[in-house]
Amino acid sequence: MGQRLRKRISNILLRVTVVSSICFGLLPFYYNKQQQRFVSSKPLLIYKTCINVTFFILMTFLLSLFIEFDDAFGAGDPLAELLNRLTIYISFGDVLITWWINWTSRQRLQQLFNEFASIEIDYLYRYKYFTDECATFDYYVFWKVFATLLQNLSFFYSTTVTNNHGWLFIIFMFLLALLTNIIFHVSTHFFLAVLFTYRFIWVLNRRLASMAGNEVSSSRLRVLSIEIDNIAYIYTRLIRLCAHYTRIHQYQLLLLFGSMTLCNIEVLFYVRLLWSGKVNELNAFNVFAILQIVVVNILDFWLTITICEQALVTSQKTVEILRGFNENPKYLIDVERSLEGFAIICSNTKLRFNLCGLFDINHSSGLNFLLTMILYLIYLIQYYHENL
């Protein structure tokens, strides 16, 4: 699709995300045009507090109410029930922690946004055209929004599939959807942060590549070294920033991944139960109704994983571009110095998304997650082998 259209849509989507997360009381601050930075406002803060309180009351109500419901599948199987309970509790805990962290670290969040804004102001506004060229950014935004929508859809779909339609149940499900959307929003925030980092590094790479490529006149060499210093500085700021927002989001992400994995295991196991004819109704429709949950979950999960991988790969490309500078012999000594400084920075401080120091987010650990999931599935199936 056309570049401008793409840009516009993605911008709209971003704005919608910010607004909705403000509505959910996740961000007590808004973007101030003339100051060009995010400023916190008293009414928003008050709004955030009261909406959080209401949500909290809601959740306690839900939790007390949830105890009445037996497991959603009615498989009548103790283990499946246990799994189900576990999943629900973990996601509730996730919501709780999300609120807590949001409340304690709202200043830090604000700094985060401001830092992004200031990096934009400091350096990148000069290269608007590069920024517009970065198509991956927009596509990933689309994907993420699409995945979130799918999550909601699948949620409601699976509620409609289950047969008991008491009004209580409906309300319950709606409120539950509200709560789950909070988690989705937080994961979206992390996703967008990584995405912005990715775009910044991408633009830096483009700029570096163009510098390395074309022959510079000896008059511009001094400017060149200054700019390289600038880029190096921006790079360090980006890496530090990334470490920071990873630290803010780590627990929520950990719990999110955990609940996702559990949910998938549970669902797949339930499919296995269906297959074994333990539950009487088995038709394609039913199987689809179950499987779509897994698909959507994995899609969402994998989006998060793969954007991190993208950012990592892009930051590794920087060094290769720096190698490209070797080909040009006639730089001044100070250009060489700043290049070497940048290279050493790259080798010293690498980009990484580390969750609680337990593991990094990249493709290999994503693979680990999926394999662990399959593994536990096998374990369950084997455990129930004799009564399947």
Binding site: L112, E115, A243, H244, L367, I378, Y379, Q382, Y383
Partner: protein
């Protein structure tokens, strides 16, 4: 010429070499070794080695054949797993010995060259007036040989007396059960000592660098204590620090509100403290002059206290360059050593892993009163097993530990180099140090078994984890097999079978889960 001054390290390998010749392990020329202490390939030696190898193989097979006559009932009585493991493991020792000797034959020429290069390095070091003390090598070798022989004999004799029926004349063949491990140990003694020689060279280089640091610090200290002028120059910084501290604290408070993403637009509201602290720094400005004084001092100090780092920069650069080149040369030799012994090391590690697991498994079987393969009869008594295992494990772990230490030692060189740079605070020297430390970062000596896994302690950790988990798997297979046997006898025990097999699954799976997380070789694959 330096040939007289340095004595080749092979002089100390004399006992080992003769012993190996006696057993027909190494093909090199005896006269040449005796005469000029070099390893030269020789046809006769090769022939001898081949003959001994064939003889040992034949006798070992005889032994297996004779003792496996007791095993006929084993396949019937035991789970096939035990049988297969037994057959497989019986030949690993033999394979190990054959690998050693074949690689020894293959590397005949290269081995001599290796020691030649070590001698060349020694000469170079002597040119840098660094003397390498290799007198301890002979003692180490002797100690290792004695340890090996003693433990082999203990295992052999105790097993022979307690567990083999002496009435049968064929039981003499049991003697040959110890040959493969003995040969292997001797070969590994060569490896270990060559490695430790390299380690010593690295160590010598590091000490040379540190001596430079030492002397320079002594010089500094002398100039600080002696010389009245030094006195108040040195009282200055402390006063300066005191005057700085409050402003530091203030700034600290300013900064610590925000950590990683800190101080974006702070410049405005921090102008005053910075300015204040700056002029408080201003009077501390005499401090920097201090080390210049000594480094750029005319050699009046050098008469009193000698420091190479103060000499004209070319000499220092020359010396550092030479040391780095020597370091690189030793790294190359290390690579060569690693490449010469790569297959034997790999086989040894595999042998250690398998034998360790198998011996423990058979020990378990023996305690359960099940029949075990006849060649593993040493597993019937716990003490012999302990000795045997400690002997094998000692062999493997010592090699791993040694290579780990060696690579650590080689990495320390860069550290010492930087010490030099930091102590003699001198800009020219900084440039040299940058250049050389960049080079040192690229000198890599890492000992790996055919590139499959590097020999360091992490591997040890992973391997021990692997041993435990595989032991558990084996044991629960064994339990399952026993259960199945009982089940075939009595129908009502099916329930237990079920339980066991489930147990099997869970353990195996969870074990797989752990190995996923363990720093084991296969981690990356998942």
């Amino acid at each position: 010429m330096a040939h007289q001054t340095v004595q080749p390290i092979l002089v100390h390998f004399g006992t080992l070499f003769t012993f190996c010749k006696l057993l027909g392990l190494y093909p090199h020329d005896l006269q040449a070794f005796r005469g000029i202490h070099t390893l030269q390939s020789s046809k006769i030696g090769t022939a001898i080695v081949v003959v001994t190898m064939l003889a040992v193989v034949v006798l070992y097979n005889l032994l297996i054949y004779f003792f496996s006559s007791e095993d006929h009932d084993l396949k019937a009585s035991q789970s096939t797993l035990t049988f297969v493991i037994g057959i497989f493991l019986t030949y690993i020792g033999l394979g190990m010995m054959i690998t050693d000797q074949l690689s020894a034959l293959r590397n005949q020429s290269k081995t001599g060259e290796l020691y030649e290069r070590i001698r060349a390095v020694d000469e170079q070091l002597l040119k840098e007036n660094v003397y390498v003390d290799i007198s301890k090598t002979a003692k180490n070798i002797l100690l290792m040989i004695v340890l090996t022989v003693v433990s082999e004999l203990i295992i052999l004799i105790s097993t022979y007396i307690t567990l083999v029926d002496l009435t049968d004349w064929k039981s003499i063949l049991w003697l040959f059960s110890c040959f493969p491990t003995l040969y292997n140990s001797l070969d590994k003694i060569w490896f270990a000592n060559t490695l430790s020689a390299l380690k010593q060279r690295f160590f010598v280089i590091n000490t040379a660098l540190e001596d430079m640091v030492e002397s320079h610090e002594r010089l500094k200290r002398w100039t600080e204590n002696g010389g009245d002028g030094g006195g108040q120059i040195f009282r200055r910084p402390s006063i300066a620090n005191v005057s700085i501290d409050p402003s530091l604290e203030y700034l600290y408070k300013e900064l610590t509100h925000m950590e990683a993403v800190k101080a974006y637009n702070m410049a405005r509201n921090k102008i005053s403290p910075i300015a204040h602290s700056l002029n408080s720094f201003g009077d501390a400005l005499e401090t920097p002059k201090k080390p210049y004084k000594y480094t750029s001092q005319p050699p009046t100090f050098n008469m009193v206290y000698e420091s190479e780092l103060n000499k004209d920069i070319e000499k220092v650069e020359e010396k550092l360059n030479n040391l780095c080149q020597l370091h690189d040369e030793i790294c190359e030799i290390g690579k060569l050593v690693n490449e010469l012994w790569s297959y034997p090391i790999l086989v040894l590690m595999a042998y250690g892993f398998l034998i360790f697991t198998a011996q423990l498994y058979f020990l378990y079987c023996a305690t359960q009163g099940q029949a075990i393969p006849s060649l593993f009869r040493s597993a019937k008594s716990a003490t012999i097993t302990t000795i045997f295992l400690s002997y094998t494990a000692g062999k493997c772990i010592y090699l791993i530990y040694l290579s780990w230490k060696t690579s650590l030692e080689s990495k320390r060189t860069g550290i010492c180099l930087h010490k030099c740079g930091v102590v003699a605070d001198n800009n020219l020297l900084y440039e040299i140090v940058n250049h050389l430390s960049l080079k040192l970062l690229n000198h890599s000596v890492d000992f790996s078994a055919c590139g499959f896994f590097t020999l360091d302690m992490e591997t040890l950790y992973g391997v021990s984890g692997g041993i435990t988990s595989y032991l558990i798997i084996l044991i629960q297979f064994n339990l399952a097999a026993q259960q199945a046997k009982d089940a075939s006898n009595a129908a009502e025990t099916n329930y237990n079978t079920m339980l066991t097999t489930e147990a099997g699954n869970t353990t195996a799976l969870m074990d797989y889960f752990t190995t996923t997380f363990m720093p084991y070789a296969q981690t990356d694959l998942y």
